[in-house]
Amino acid sequence: MAISIDKNLCVGCGACLKVCPYDAIDLIDRKAILNDSCVHCGACVDSCKFKAILSQAGEGPRKDLSEYAGVAVFAETRGQGLAKVATELLGCGRALADTRKVGLTAFLLGHRIQGLAKDLIAHGADRVVVVDDPRLAPFRTAPFARALTSVIQQQKPEIVLIGASGIGRDLAPRVANRLKTGLTADCTGLAIEEGSGLLLQTRPAFGGNVMATIVCPHHRPQMSTVRPGVMKPLPRDDHRQGTITEAKVTIKETDLRTVVREVVRLAGKKVDLSEATVIVSGGRGVGGAKGFEGIRDLAEALGGQVGASRAAVESGWIEHDHQVGQTGKSVSPRLYIACGISGAIQHLAGIAGADFVVAVNRDAQAPIMKAADVAIVGDLHQVVPLLAAEIRRARKENAA
């Protein structure tokens, strides 16, 4: 896109100067002039009441962005309840809505899910829009894409947040395409840009080696999928007030071409690290499958779950669903203990949401040691059993 200012139309009001995030517009002889700082982001285009600022995207008639207002989240459900990510989205959506001084709406789609509406209000929503339809259970892409798109078209929020879960990442790209708007995947940070009011969507790229902040200046809504386990939910408050409305959508016959034959829940020792409050993780330094016994024992002493680095998983010492990090789970426990993990950027990407990080490593220079609230320099085979014993002792003391 290229931005230019038509001198004949410019009246020199200066409105564009205020919204420019880059200080790239000067007022010279009562005309706005772009200076060298301009990155052609387009933040100014809509500020001009006189249509003097042109962007050469040539996308035909520009959407009237002012029609769009408010923050909305997609309230994903899991079984009979809400997915944890839904409350996380409300927590972060609430903060964005308050900054923008607008309302927060939750879109609740499914069948026989009305009962969850009050939970969404208790977690921060001002309004819940419910679509209840038997064809929306179990989840299928096409009817959900139809329903969510039409609710967004009816409500016209300026921001839509969707969990970057298996369901969200399946659904969101189709919806964004139908709305012909932008979509930023797997965000770990969201904020409102001062001045422009745009949503700043920050996400890791290149395997977590860099972070990128993405904006969607000329299309609405601004849509993001948000990584589970990163945003903090608000504490439940049943005194919160909100309204619940039902929306009507037309699901078409062609949306039902895909048939769900069966759903197999992976039974047994399913670990859910994203919901754990304490996690003890082992890496290559643990030295083998047997070494994980000590890690398990420490986790047990703390009433927590066992995590692992990719190196440990790829060595075959522990199953993949224990992996924490970029290609594993993002976790947000109160306490994360990393044992024999160097702290590669891809691992750290998964623990950004942890409240308190402890690292045990022989190498004082390992990156994890700089990321830890408490770093113990030492051999984990010594430290881990000692720590488990000390915790059990302290627990007993507490109980007494």
Binding site: R261, V264, V357, K370, D373, A375, Q382, L386, L387
Partner: protein, 262 residues
């Protein structure tokens, strides 16, 4: 049976390093590879073609001229034809503009049965191009496929998501995105490599060849824009405990109690 596999050439992120001074990506000397999951997508297509008793696997990539080598590698693996979408007008595309270009290319290929993408590309990790392509083409999709079979003119797909396996049945044409758990990609043979360079059709198409409006592709067709990139900030340095492990452990437990963590 015509199966189309969109593949992407990506920098091997295992080798991406950050310049500590400038905080920017050092891409010099970083090898380019075929996006790992796209190899699994090609494998899935080749197996299915055999199952169907014949047909064609066409690999398509949108990228700079050097992406040719990635496509040739897939021909060596066994794909039948390759198309490189290369034009300066495609540059700077986000996922929507990428999917738009791919959709126009697919339409040029006539009647197809199936499109298989990788789940996600390791440079951007978005997993959006597949579903957005399916939306442009108005066909059903199954993402996160760990198994795919032909069954009576339809496909049966096992999708692995969130501790569940969903078994779906989709009519054709459809789009599937493939997990690395789905299969083990075959290694190109010497004969395959020779064929990839000598015999198999390889074409380069530009924007006008696929009849796509220029405002829908590349930077112009991309609703999202990168505002800035930076290296992730480190967490603040905390307490470092060295020396006697017993002492260290006691200090840690005390700290945890003081912070109310246990």
């Amino acid at each position: 049976m015509l199966i189309i596999v969109p593949i992407k050439q990506v920098p091997d992120t295992n080798d991406v390093r950050i310049d500590p001074e400038t905080g920017t990506l050092i891409r010099e000397g970083v090898p380019s590879i075929v996006n790992p999951e796209d190899r699994h997508a090609v494998e899935m297509a080749l197996v299915l073609k055999d199952q169907a008793g014949g047909g064609k696997v066409v690999v398509v990539s949108m990228g700079p001229p050097q992406a040719e080598i990635a496509l040739r590698e897939m021909l060596a693996m066994g794909a039948d034809e390759a198309i490189l979408l290369s034009d300066r007008a495609f540059a700077g595309a986000d996922t929507l503009a990428t999917a738009c270009a791919l959709a126009h290319a697919v339409r040029q290929l006539g009647q197809y049965d199936l499109i298989i993408c990788g789940r996600q590309a390791i440079d951007g990790d978005t997993a959006q191009v597949g579903p957005q392509l399916a939306e442009f083409l108005q066909i059903p999709q199954a993402t996160y496929a760990q198994d795919l079979r032909l069954e009576g003119g339809k496909i049966r797909v096992e999708r692995a998501v969130e501790g569940e396996v969903q078994v779906l049945e989709l009519p054709l044409p459809a789009l599937v995105t493939c997990l690395k758990e789905a299969n083990k990609p075959r290694i190109p043979t010497l004969k395959g490599c020779i064929g990839a360079f000598r015999e198999k059709p390889f074409q380069v198409w530009n924007a006008s060849r696929i009849k796509v409006p220029l405002e829908q592709i590349g930077l112009k067709g991309s609703p999202t824009q990168v505002r800035r990139t930076f290296t992730p900030p480190p967490r603040g340095q905390g307490i470092v405990l060295t020396g006697d492990p017993q002492q260290a452990v006691q200090t840690l437990v005390q700290t945890l109690r003081e912070k109310g963590i246990m």
